[in-house]
């Protein structure tokens, strides 16, 4: 049974990439959440792969990012609340389409950087009667995710400099040589940030900096958690992800060598292989 969400517009103001597929009520769903001043295309390969391999995919654009309209949301908690609303709307549509009204739906949430904080908070508050959360994947994650004053100042007063800082620090090297033929990953990130809405980088970084509910959120999550970090990540050092993984018996951590923070473009296959293994292993 297919849902009428083709074209990926969840409603008039919120957008999610679905891999040009209609959503099927009998498939598990993977929700991808992007980071600061980014959009759904950071998941280009991973989201497309899952959409063609038996999953529903919702790679969202957060409010006021790329195709989604609305106002920038000022906190991780508000963004997580928004994400759960989107998931709830989708579940409602799926349930209405189901032949077997007693069937449930299963979700996996994957987030990167700020999106990982949103994913964490959304997972902790995942309370949909007709759905279950099967797994949580936190990529390029650190907690706390406090921001150095120089970067915050640039984000507020000179966004171009903030874009430049974050682009440089997100890649293991500006030399490139990434696996995606013909594209310069640093240029792609810089362009994406420069194309973001005015104020987005500052608002998003404030949200990261202020978020302090991580420990409580982890305590409220009972599904398996994957921490996936670039071994050379200078934005969100892997040691912080490891510290959280060590505290959580449901968690595992994988480091991808020779990668920085922009792990999905620096090692698209590495990320995909780990997500395939982890999410595939939690498929009901």
């Amino acid at each position: 049974m297919y849902l009428k969400l083709k074209g990926a517009k969840l409603n008039e103001v919120n957008y999610a990439y679905t891999g040009t597929h209609d959503l099927a009520s009998d498939l598990e769903t993977i929700v991808f959440v992007h980071g600061t001043s980014m959009d759904h295309t950071v998941w280009a390969h991973q989201s497309r792969y899952f959409a063609y391999h038996g999953y529903n995919v919702l790679a969202v654009d957060l409010p006021a990012h790329k195709f989604s309209q609305g106002e920038l949301l000022p906190s991780i908690e508000r963004m997580a609340e928004w994400l759960n609303k989107m998931i709830g709307k989708m579940i409602g549509k799926m349930i209405r389409q189901m032949i077997d009204q007693t069937a449930g739906t299963a979700f996996h949430i994957v987030g990167h950087s700020m999106g990982a904080l949103i994913a964490l908070e959304a997972a902790a508050n995942f309370n949909h009667p007709d759905a279950g959360l099967n797994s949580l994947s936190l990529i390029g994650f650190s907690y706390p995710m406090s921001v150095t004053p120089q970067l915050m100042d640039a984000a507020q007063h000179n966004p171009s400099e903030a874009y430049s800082m974050m682009t440089q620090w997100s890649h293991r090297s500006a030399i490139g040589g990434e696996p995606i033929p013909g594209f310069w990953s640093a240029g792609m990130q810089l362009s994406m940030m420069e194309n973001s809405k005015p104020g987005a980088v500052h608002t998003d970084l404030i949200a990261c900096d202020n978020y302090n509910n991580g420990e409580a959120a982890f305590a409220n999550i009972h599904c398996p958690i994957l921490f996936l970090s670039g071994a050379l990540d200078k934005m969100a050092p892997a040691k912080l992800a490891k510290a959280q993984a060590d505290k959580n018996e449901c968690a595992e951590i994988v480091l991808i060598p020779e990668c920085g923070h922009s792990i999905m473009s620096e090692s698209p296959d590495g990320v995909l292989d780990e997500l395939t293994r982890f999410i595939g292993g939690r498929r009901k």
Binding site: T41, A44, R48, I175, G176, G182, W184, M188, M235, D269
Partner: protein, 456 residues
């Protein structure tokens, strides 16, 4: 913990506490390449292959469906060519590049990706002859028309835009009068009309001018010229800045609507920053097939490693030759944007602070015959139809490329019977000046005879 804040470790990267950015010369040598992980080759290996072995059927399907990155068939991509594409993208500060079989193929690919029959282009009238040919004569057969406007006629360019216009096109430095396009002004006109501005940056390369800094949306190069720099191969490339809003424009359904030729893919949904390059590769390279050979990419990469040094020498030699020509009594006019009498002199400081290139024209007083004698009197300057070689080149349009044209028609094209075009190379400047001096002397003799005949 201070060291755990986003960016703290990085702020220590240099003593000034600011982010360090990898610089042009380093990118020219390294961008796009990691040393060969298998054999340790330091140079970019030439992957001379038409195809690539798939690990299994699953991987093959994933490659073709863009679920995994990689190479499926060399018409679409090749590891050697990909290094060139990434390197030029890094130097131009774009999101990516797409290498083509020639500069002409790059221009055609850009137009074929953006437009359908019924579309319209506004082009500078001072473009390369090959570009003029395809725009003026060939594309109208496929329903795409072009209005040519002098690059100096800003209002003319604005007024030439029609509802079906899909591109403004020009060159940083045009032909034959070295017209400098006012990039920021033209870019603003394009932005106001929600159409992209593509610039041919062949004569300047990213070393002398970065058109994206001035608002251009797309860049094309004939890589045959200065990028390669040695006159050894034919190649072209497109670079996308990634800042044009294809969906917001409402004029580019090719990029913002589902494409049945690729599983209903909407390219700007799939790649918000590189929709143009994605369609150009996935449709244009697939269907038109004008790809660059890996060996060609290797030669261009070899040239790009010395781009800065060569361009500096090209420019310094050019400036010295112009000073020399200014002192010659057989030289009538010199067209070079750095000269105060040039109409675009006022743009040079802003757009071309490192130099206005090394291709320029001058006119001999003795007309067509003097030009012919001058060219034949040169030894180091090679008489041929190309520019951008490390070796110095010369051509006399009135006796070669434009030999069928009358003096009046030549003037209409901005060329006199005595016009000489030089592409100044990187030889020892004193040898170049000796060569020019000898040829000018021969030309002067002819000028004198012609002058005598006329006066007698």
């Amino acid at each position: 913990m201070v060291q755990d804040k986003l960016g703290d470790d990085n702020m220590k990267d240099n003593s000034r506490g600011r982010p360090t950015k990898t610089r042009f010369d380093t990118l020219a040598l390294h961008a796009g390449q990691r040393p060969d992980p298998v054999h340790g080759a330091r140079a970019v290996p030439i992957y001379q292959t038409a195809s690539y072995v798939f690990k299994d059927s699953e991987q093959a399907a994933s490659l073709f469906n863009m679920e995994r990155p990689g190479h499926a068939y060399a018409r679409l991509s090749n590891p050697t060519t990909a290094v060139f594409e990434e390197r030029i993208a890094a130097l131009e500060e774009g999101v990516g590049g797409l290498a083509t079989a020639s500069g002409q193929a790059a221009l055609h690919l850009a137009i074929a990706t953006l437009m359908d029959a019924g579309s319209h282009i506004v082009s500078s009238s001072a473009v390369y002859g090959g570009s003029h040919n395809i725009l003026q004569y060939t594309l109208p057969r496929f329903g795409i028309d072009t209005t040519f406007v002098s690059p100096r006629d800003i209002d003319g360019i604005r007024n030439a835009i029609q509802p079906n216009t899909r591109l403004i096109f020009g060159e940083v430095i045009g032909n034959p009068g070295n017209d400098v396009m006012n990039l920021p002004v033209i870019a603003e006109i394009a932005r106001e009309n929600k159409i992209p501005f593509m610039i041919d940056s062949t004569f300047t390369t990213p070393y002398l001018c970065k058109p994206f800094d001035f608002g251009a949306n797309l860049i094309m190069h004939s890589a045959t010229k200065f990028l390669c720099g040695h006159g050894t191969v034919i190649g072209g490339v497109l670079v996308d800045h990634g800042r044009f809003d294809w969906e917001g424009s409402g004029k580019f359904s090719n990029l913002s609507e589902p494409y049945k030729g690729f599983h209903d893919m909407s390219f700007d949904e799939e790649s918000s920053q590189a929709a143009f390059l994605l369609r150009a590769r996935r449709e244009g390279m697939r269907d038109f097939g004008a790809c660059m050979a890996p060996t060609v990419a290797f030669y261009i990469l070899q040239g790009m490693e010395t781009l800065s040094m060569r361009m500096q020498r090209h420019v310094s030699n050019t400036r010295k030759i112009i000073e020399f020509l200014k002192s010659s009594d057989v030289v009538d006019t010199i067209s070079y944007p750095e000269l105060p009498e040039h109409p675009d002199y006022h743009l040079v400081d802003a757009l071309l602070p490192k130099g206005a290139g090394s291709v320029f024209s001058f006119s001999l007083k003795g007309g067509r015959e003097a030009g012919k004698v001058f060219v034949e009197g040169l030894d180091l300057f090679s008489h041929l139809a190309n520019v951008g070689d490390a070796k110095s080149l010369v051509i006399h349009p009135a006796s070669t490329t434009h030999y069928r044209m009358s003096a009046d028609d030549l003037l209409k094209a901005g060329i006199s019977e005595g016009t000489i075009r030089l592409s100044v190379g990187i030889e020892d400047i004193d040898d170049l000046l000796d060569d020019l001096s000898k040829a000018l002397h021969l030309s002067k003799k002819i000028s004198g005879k012609i002058s005598g005949k006329i006066s007698g």
